[in-house]
Amino acid sequence: MTVIAFSDVDVLDVLVVAAVAVTAILAIAIPRRVGATIAFLVFGLLLALLWARVAAPDVAIAEAALGGGVAGALLVDALHRRQPAQPKRDHRRAVAITAVGAALGAVTFAALATVLSRLTAEPADLGPLALEAVERSGVSHPITAVLLNFRNLDTLLEIAVVVFAAVGAAALSRDRIRTVTDPGPVRRVIAVIIVPALVLLAAWLLVAGTSEPGGAFQAGAVLGAALIIAHLCGVRAARAAGGRALVLVVAGLLAFILLGGIGLAVTGTWLALDLSWAFAAILSIETLLTVSIGVALAMLFLAAGSRDDAAAADSAAAAPALGGAA
């Protein structure tokens, strides 16, 4: 690589990238969980800014809703727990490990940068090909066309990832999901105002996704947030739906597979959509997927949630039995 000329680069871009890099380092280097989590949330926010810079508004919305939103909520919730004391590591050893790690990292980065410098600046021809195919997909937003038509197998598998993560999480934390019985007046008001607003936003993202940025993932993430808030605010319907949550989660996946089968029966190819009904199929499957993703994310959050004090006391009482079994 020759001398780096920053002439072509916007100063603001350099600043944002530098900020992203610094928050990334902070997120991994701060020893306490609270600090690391805050640095990570800032990192996610700045990333969303970068996504907007590389003309990826869909990813920016998803990052804000999922990366910063749900993953952030999960991490923040984990902060309730006492950080276990780390076994004291010999200070000299810790420095040595960090130094070796930094050296290896530098070498890896140098190698990777060498490889990356060999990539051409020419755009791939895949872009124009995909954009040109959009008009035969049933929707006008290119990313929705890729996700729900051209590469819908990837999307189906990805839904499966979320669904089975929720199934696994539910199995690993059975009987432990806390219920909020006395939400108090403030939470009740939040539930009345925020939850419908979020549900409305999710519906908007879903419908808009066929023609502009948005879609089932973003809508699902927002719906997930709404469900989590509803649960934490003690909304009775959210509590009652708890038992049937798994049914809602798997329904989206099963419907998607069924759609694949319909494609096979009608057009002779798995997951193929005929242009005459592609729009209707995409919108209806996206609606089911939104519910599926939303409920699955809420289940993941609630399964990961910390126990309340009563449960902690129960577990302390049960601990001797557990120790004996182990």
């Binding site: 190698a111 990777l112 060498t114 490889v115 990356l116 060999r118 990539l119 755009p123 791939a124 021809d125 895949l126 090909l129 995909a130 195919a133 038509n149 051209f150 590469r151 819908n152 197998l153 990837d154 598998l157 990805e158 499966a160 990832v161 669904v163 089975f164 993560a165 199934v167 696994g168 999480a169 539910a170 199995a171 690993l172 798994l246 049914v247 989660v249 798997v250 996946l253 099963l254 597979i257 694949g260 089968g261 494609g263 096979l264 057009t267 002779g268 190819t269 798995w270 997951l271 193929a272 959509l273 557990l322 182990a326």
Partner: protein
Amino acid sequence: MSAAALVLAPVFLPLAVGALSAVLPRRAAATLTVIAAAATLMVAVLLGIAVLDAGPVRLEVAGWAPPVGILLAADGLSVVMIGLSAIAVLAAALVAAADDHFAGGHAFWPLVGAAAAAVNGVFVARDVFTAFVLLELLTIASVALVALGGARSAAAALRYLFVAVTGSLFFLLAVALTYGHTGTVDLARAAERADDTVIVGAIIALTVVGMAAKTALFPLHSWLPAAHPAAPTAVSALLSALVIKASIVILWRIVEYFGPLTDLAAPLATAVGVAGAAAVLWGGVLALRRDRLKSIIAYSTVAQVGYMVLLVPLVFTASDPQVAWIGGILITLAHGVAKAAMFLAAGALAAAAGTGRLDGLEGTISRMPWTVAAIGLAGVSLAGLPPTLGFVGKWMLVQASLDAGAWWWLALLLGGGLLTFAYTARMLRATFNPPGDFSGARELTRPARTVAIVPLALAALSVVLGLIPWLLIDVLSAAPMGGGA
């Protein structure tokens, strides 16, 4: 319906059954899982016939051809691996259905469906990004399955998750380089267009590291002996027999398509071979020093992974790479069948004796001779002795090594076999009656009949396949590896 439609059946069938199992009662879930596995086996047979007939079966999903759409294809490798997955899932499901203790809970059924769908998908994937998503589905399902082993297994499951996801990120980086360099994520199209030897070398190197971590190839193996034994027995069997094969197959595919394109592939392949050799010795020696059945078998997997990657250097040096390919694939199949038998038999013994420690198994042989026999037969196949499938695979690898003039691989193949023989013998010896005691009167909690039959049937299968290996060799030769799909 054409043969092409069959390519996605081994993915959608278990996936749908898995999703249903999450909300169905246990009996229904178990029945459906067994039916789906049997149906998958049928599909594998039908696909095998189609491959014998007209070569690889291609499917352009959703009717979109690459580069816009996703291409899947079933060749000989896909067919035999799908067959293995069907058999392994069938065996694990039968055992888990007979005794819930071996399953670890109701979530076993949906998660097994997801894992089966993911591995079958990997076997037919020709699109690197689809392969990445499948690997992630497999990771989620397997990690959750390990965690079904009770509170103590959570730490092992989490360690497995970190290793597996980091491995996936390496692969995702390789996929990004593939797209950046060739403008496509379709394997065949990318291989056609790739012309930069450094970038292709980096793609192979990143895949090797990522998949080595996920497969537990030495020196990235240390999570496996923690995770596999911590899981419930039916899960241990599936993990060793099936799950690690997915990352192996991805490694093979990248070598198949990108290996011939760069000079850097040969040194990388040698490095993989050296790691494999070290795995065979290290895993074998540590297996000899463990004193719990499941732990010995897990270290045996670490050793056997070494054999599975041995074909990588051989396909670059042997004059007929097909022999190395087929030998490596057969040894991998043999490991799948034998290891499932071994883990299920070990689980049955441990459940009957009330302990998995070797010194607590004394006298189990006189009560459960067939279960002990299953361990013995499986060990014979793993050691590569006739008349088993393991022998056929090893024999072909020996031929390929001789052909390549690489006698050191030969020494390794034989030395590793001795180690396998030694730790199998050690397990068998632990089940004998104490010297001088011929009464055989030890009281055991006898497991259900299915639990005894299934491992024996699997062990018998490795012998049957060893006697008629041409069945598999024909399918594998019908679409030569590296010939494109």
